[in-house]
Symmetry: C2
Subunit: 151 residues, 2 copies
DNA sequence: ACTTTACCTCAAGCTAACTTGAGGTTTTAG
DNA sequence: CTAAAACCTCAAGTTAGCTTGAGGTAAAGT
């Protein structure tokens, strides 16, 4: 019960996730632990921040895979510190901005459609797949697509 | 090749979806067809609008299940006409508004975090699960939750 | 007529992000 | 010391929204 030494159960409770989720994250390489004599997982307090960053990113619609790559890009694969966090967050924020803009665009064309009751084959911006909305992609996956193009 | 009589392939091409997607939607009861002599699916042009509504709703983050229930709520389970569409769209738009607000709130607290580099256990609005973001729920499922409460 | 598309059904597979369960061990509380 | 609570591993199940494949039929082009 020392401060520096967390069991899965405690971490889970503190972070509001299930133990199985922590197992899963560890399996994916998102968090790390060492084992005590009895083969039970032990964590540094650091893991709490790491999990919080994961959860924050997920709320933004970032995939675990993407988060993993972001972490991997940090020097020494360390848990994000202030500066790291700022960098990650601003990247994800850019993605978030795009998603918000996409949704706003969608909402606005919807506005038009509600006004006009259109959905006529030719004119409706929502009806037609080839228009401006299409260019914006599928929202949450935007950053992914860009990254893949860059490779 | 008459106007009133569409094959799956034609519908798929026109709507920019795969044939298998149409099979799938039919299986879910989202669209309907009848069969010709050779047991092949035939559709009314109506189906195009229905699929467009589905796709538009999906872009807004509405689940197929939710869409199905929305359709089922229409008189006679008909394909949404202008007025129906206006009703559906304004419901979904409300949900969309909430999601946008949620994301904007998230982005803004992120702004703060980028500025302060916080993520201290006590203060950060993103770090703590119990704060205002939590109240807003998980975004895309908002409408679902509400509906379930109402039942 | 013939050949290439297009279509059919049904089952199984896929991805993400987890959860559940079985069978067994370790810690902790009293 | 003992019993309950927490932990362990590994495989399999879950949900959404489709896609893929196998094995076979129908329609369309030439």
């Amino acid at each position: 019960m020392e401060e520096a030494n967390w069991s899965v159960g405690r971490v889970a409770k503190r972070c509001g996730v299930k133990v199985s989720t922590l197992h899963y994250y560890e399996q994916l390489g998102l968090i790390r632990s060492w084992r005590n004599n009895g083969n039970q997982r032990r964590y540094k307090a650091e893991v709490l921040r790491r999990i919080s960053v994961i959860k924050a990113a997920q709320k933004m619609g970032v995939s675990l895979d993407s988060i993993k790559r972001a972490f991997a890009g940090l020097p020494d694969n360390r848990t994000p510190n202030k500066e790291d966090w700022q960098l990650l967050a601003s990247n994800w924020q850019a993605e978030l901005d795009e998603r918000i803009n996409y949704l706003i665009a969608l909402r606005d064309s919807l506005d038009g459609c509600i006004g006009c009751g259109c959905l006529s084959l030719k004119n409706c911006p929502i009806y037609n797949p080839e228009d401006m909305l299409a260019e914006l992609g599928d929202g949450p996956v935007l950053l992914e697509k860009k990254r893949q193009k860059e490779n």
